[in-house]
């Protein structure tokens, strides 16, 4: 996996790059936003990690230019500002995710991985996590090449959740993501669906963690230990 890191603080750029490389990823660094659109055209990157506070054009402007040339690359924005307005501006400007400094390294790695996974799913039309694989074209799911039977609703819910690995998913989001459900769907129906799914994907090494009163979070069972 190849990552372009745009960060103008040399020390932070160095340690972030080392951290990402420790995951076996290839990292290129630049301190300025201006050359980013050209770099993205010339080389194939899987992820752009972009600091907002840059000398010269700032992260927002860089992002605007990147999206302006039609690049679909997933973008993780780093910022020293945590204003809600900044967050909204970043996400509306085309960022896929947002991390506020100082962030935990594990958080950065998890977000980066989730972003790349989502974008790869878009290209390959395939979602993967641990031993689970969902072929979106064929609408079929596998655990270690063994077919996994899912109802239409379970398929919708699981694919929605798998595309958001690493994020907490609210029950309302699950309801609105599924065609057959409307706003009158009870939490109970969601819970029943999730508990069935939980049993089905447990063998793949995936744990569905319940966030009480809120929603769910997909975790790889072994990844949880290391985190």
């Amino acid at each position: 996996m190849r990552i372009l890191l745009v960060e103008d603080d040399a020390v932070l750029a160095d340690s972030t790059a080392r951290a990402l490389r420790s995951q076996g990823w290839v990292v290129d660094c630049t301190a300025r936003g201006e050359p980013v659109p050209i770099s993205l055209r010339e080389d194939r990157y899987d992820l752009l990690i972009l600091d907002i506070g840059l000398a010269g054009i700032d992260g927002f402007e860089t992002l605007r230019r990147v999206r302006g040339q039609g690049s679909p690359i997933p973008v993780l924005v780093l910022t020293a500002r945590d204003g809600v307005e900044d967050r909204v501006r970043g996400l509306e400007g085309g960022a896929d995710d947002y991390l506020v400094k100082p962030f935990a390294l594990s958080e950065l790695i998890a977000r980066a991985r989730a972003l790349v996974r989502r974008s790869q799913a878009r290209f390959s039309n395939e979602l993967r996590m641990a031993a689970l694989r969902m072929d979106l074209d064929a609408r079929r799911a596998f655990i270690n090449e063994e077919s996994l039977a899912l109802s239409a609703r379970e398929w919708e819910v699981l694919s929605f959740m798998l595309a958001r690995v690493g994020k907490v998913i609210a029950k309302e989001q699950i309801v609105s993501a599924s065609n057959g459900w409307d706003h009158s769907t009870t939490d109970n129906a969601v819970e029943v669906c999730i508990s069935r799914l939980r049993a089905k994907i447990e063998p793949a090494g995936i744990n569905v963690r319940t966030v009480r009163g809120f929603g769910y979070l997909l975790e790889e069972q072994d990844a949880r230990r290391s985190a």
């Binding site: 603080d9 020293a80 962030f103 390294l105 594990s106 950065l108 907490v168 966030v211 009163g213």
Partner: protein
């Protein structure tokens, strides 16, 4: 030791403007009113007395007209009727006497003959005198009679009842008029002073309402004399506001600038923890990590503080914020932190809309959740609740951790105050900031026992949005 208070007690309070103006009005009045009264009295009295003397003089003249001489002898003959007419006065008694050139009484009241003086013909003499025990006004006239060089005298005396009465009435009248006049002047002056000073009171009222967070220029109308004062104040406010803002900017910038190096420090420590390392270094690295986290949190809170103060300067207008949404949006950030801390984080969310600054309320709730995650301890449960009743929106953050003894709770809201056992990544500013923000929004923040008698529940109560 006691000299200072005594000295200050002895020092007279300087006079107020009102007192000063009144003093300068009353002092001249104290001089002018009596002297004006005196002048008026004298003028009226002298004029009236002159007319009274004139009347008496007429009587003298009339008596003089009755004097005849016959063979060198002075003769004065009047009928009883004439005598009564000459002596007639409604208020005073009138005496008269006619004296021969030798001083012998020709006719009339002999008592008046006692005074020895000579007069030339046609000469008047006016004097105050006494007849018996009665004070009188005595007017004498020399009248030529008989041989040339012989001068008779006609003397008329009138008791002074009228004159005394006149003086008394004049005195009463003039002093009464002067007193009323002075009183009216003082009253009018007092009203004028009050009216004139009213703009000062208005401007004081306005100044009273100014504060570091309310420095808008004084808009009240002021008279032209006070315009420079108002302008001076407004310029001062402008400078103060600029200073306050640049201080905000400085803190805000400093906090931002701190974050980047702190991030790289933290990343390096985490890298060291990930890479193979001497197990003996592990506690040190963990301590370093939590130290960095605490510094980062402190920077964050200084930033919040600066922004919270900026909010008081009305830089950002308040908006409607649903605390349920706010919590739901932050859940994504909190859940991974709870997982790392081994805490079961749960939510019970119902709508709770308030009016305020979203970023401040976010910081407030963030602080409460941060504390719960930092201090509840591994294996504990933390529940974040939002709800509302008829008048309040409520946020509760409850944990099943060790809690805080009731006696220590109040102290926790002081700045830079941390629990008895310093642990976790608290900066000691969090709760103080949280309470500041709650109060700014007209709400209250309190610590209670957990619902099941375990742990701690921090409850934020805010007025419900209209």
């Amino acid at each position: 030791m006691s000299a200072a208070p005594q000295a200050s007690a002895r020092r007279r309070e300087p006079l107020s403007i009102k007192q000063r103006l009144l003093l300068w009005l009353v002092l001249p009045l104290l001089v002018t009113a009596p002297s004006g009264g005196l002048v008026l009295y004298t003028l009226v009295h002298d004029a009236t007395a002159k007319w009274l003397d004139q009347g008496l003089g007429d009587t003298v003249q009339a008596i003089g007209n009755y004097i005849r001489t016959h063979d060198g002898e002075v003769i004065f003959e009047v009928s009883q009727q004439t005598d009564r007419a000459l002596r007639f006065d409604r208020l005073d008694r009138i005496y008269y006497v006619v004296l021969a050139p030798g001083g012998q009484v020709v006719a009339g009241d002999a008592q008046l003959a006692d005074y020895r003086f000579t007069l030339r013909p046609g000469e008047w003499r006016v004097q105050d005198d006494v007849v018996g025990v009665e004070p009188v006004r005595l007017i004498s006239l020399g009248v030529a009679c008989g041989a040339p060089g012989n001068v008779c005298q006609v003397r008329v005396a009138e008791t002074i009842y009228k004159r005394t009465q006149l003086r008394r009435e004049l005195l009463l009248g003039v002093s009464g008029v002067m007193f009323v006049l002075a009183a009216l002047i003082v009253l009018a002056g007092w009203i004028a002073i009050r009216q004139g000073l009213r703009p000062i009171a208005a401007i004081s009222d306005e100044l009273e309402r100014r504060d570091l967070d309310r420095l808008e220029p004084i808009g009240a109308w002021v008279p032209v004399e006070m315009a420079p004062l108002r302008e001076a104040f407004n310029r001062l406010f402008e400078r103060l506001q600029r200073a306050a803002r640049s201080q905000q900017d400085f803190i805000s910038n400093a906090a931002h600038q701190l974050r980047t190096p702190l991030t790289s420090l933290r990343t390096d420590i985490e890298l060291a923890l990930l890479e193979p390392h001497d197990p003996g270094l592990e506690p040190l690295l963990q301590r370093l990590k939590s130290g960095v986290e605490r510094s980062a949190r402190l920077a964050q809170q200084m930033l919040s503080l600066a922004r919270s103060e900026a909010a008081q300067l009305h830089i950002e207008p308040p908006r409607r914020v649903d605390l349920r949404e706010l919590v739901a949006q932050s859940a994504e950030d909190w859940v991974p932190r709870a997982l790392r801390a081994g805490i079961d984080l749960g939510f019970e969310l119902a709508p709770a809309a308030v009016t305020g600054q979203q970023f401040l309320l976010h910081e407030l709730v963030e602080n409460l959740v941060h504390n719960a995650l930092a201090y509840a301890g591994e294996g504990a449960g933390v529940t974040v609740r939002t709800r509302s009743d008829a008048r309040h929106a409520v946020v509760e953050v409850e944990d099943t951790g060790p809690g805080i003894p009731a006696a220590e709770r109040d102290r926790m809201f002081e700045r830079f105050q941390r629990g008895a056992q310093p642990q976790g990544s608290g900066s000691g500013l969090g709760l103080a900031i949280a309470r500041d923000i709650a109060r700014q929004h007209g709400g209250e923040l309190g610590m209670h026992d957990g619902v099941h008698g375990r742990g701690l529940m921090v409850r934020l109560t805010l007025p419900l949005a209209a």
